[in-house]
Amino acid sequence: MLLPELFSLLSSDLFLMLSLLTCLLEDRFPKSVPYVYQIAAVMGFGHLAVSRMFLSVFSEYMRFWYNIFYLATALANIVAVNLYLALSKNRWMLAKIWTSAVTFPTVFISIVFVYNYTYIQGAAFPMLMLNLIIVLIVIMLGITASLLLSPKLLGKEQRR
């Protein structure tokens, strides 16, 4: 059986990965960014600790939502870094690499986990709403990827 805390574990690891990657690319990001992501990862530890302490008090429904919110935050940060590289820094090649090596795999893996979890739990959670959110994320990811892969198109849009 999957626990909803799996999302917190995954998110925390995503923040750690972001921290290390932004440290490696430190000349492209503000200096404090890697440390901010480290703190965000430690917050994941806090999430897990709270879940463990209040396991009998919190319902699974509640645990699911606060863990999925944390996962959504981590994924939003990954996409934000991707957009930051593409739009603010105009590093198209780096943005493309980031999309294919970081953004797409992490979003895809997260979707698989969320889908698998909701499938196992049956109708206990609002499946329709989750499906809509996931479809929305995939569409947004697709649009972002297509914009990043064809910067000329973006340039045209900006000139309008």
């Binding site: 626990l3 805390e5 799996l6 917190s8 574990l9 925390s12 690891d13 750690l16 921290s19 290390l20 440290c23 490696l24 430190e26 890697p34 440390y35 480290q38 990862a41 430690v42 994941g44 530890f45 897990l48 600790a49 879940s51 463990r52 396991l55 009998s56 049956g122 109708a123 206990a124």
Partner: protein, 191 residues
């Protein structure tokens, strides 16, 4: 010198972050593992509940998880409690299967008192009609169960649905008033 210093600073930073990341990742993994290994037994109300029905025998006691029906039996006349007790599936999203299983009966087989009854039937109905039954008939001085195994098959009760138990009793013309038969039936529910 400057380039060397920058490289050293960057590598030191990275190494520090790497060590910190390893620490956080290991701590997270450990706490998650302890969560998965933590057994959780939560006290909660049953999803399948008994509830009072219109034809409940007087003097009966009905609680969520168990009920005691004090039915009567008349000589040479079948007495029917059309809706003796409800069995409700209170789960709003899932169907649950349940069965009736014989646990005990007094007077026991071999007792001459067994001859004071002809049959005692517990028949489960839903809004469409008959579903299944657990019947006790007498071939003095023994009780004969139907199904013979003493347990019915499992039947799935849909979400947020109420079924009911019909109780039919019959005694022979020569039955002696005041004899009491106690039957204990278990309701097995698959969660």
């Amino acid at each position: 010198m400057k380039i060397g210093n920058i490289r050293l600073t960057k590598s030191t930073k990275f190494l520090t972050l790497l060590l910190s990341s390893t620490l956080v990742a290991v701590a997270n993994a450990a706490i998650f593992y302890s969560l998965t290994m933590q057994p959780q037994v939560t006290v909660s109300t049953p999803v399948l509940k008994f509830s009072s029905a219109p034809d409940e025998p007087s003097g009966s006691t009905v609680y969520d998880a168990w009920c005691r029906l004090t039915a009567k039996s008349y000589p040479n006349a079948t007495l029917t409690y059309e809706q003796a007790v409800y069995i409700n599936n209170t789960d709003g999203s899932n169907a649950h299967s349940f069965r009736l299983r014989h646990a005990s009966i007094t007077p026991a087989n071999g007792s001459s008192s067994v001859g004071n009854w002809t049959s005692i039937k517990f028949i489960v109905y839903n809004s469409s009609g008959y579903v299944f039954s657990l019947n006790y008939t007498v071939s003095a001085p023994n009780w004969i169960l139907q199904p013979i195994s003493g347990e019915t098959s499992y039947y799935s009760i849909p979400q947020s649905t109420g079924w009911w138990v019909r109780v039919e009793t019959l005694s022979p013309a020569a039955a002696t008033a005041g004899n009491v038969c106690e039957i204990q039936i278990e309701v097995d529910v698959q969660e």
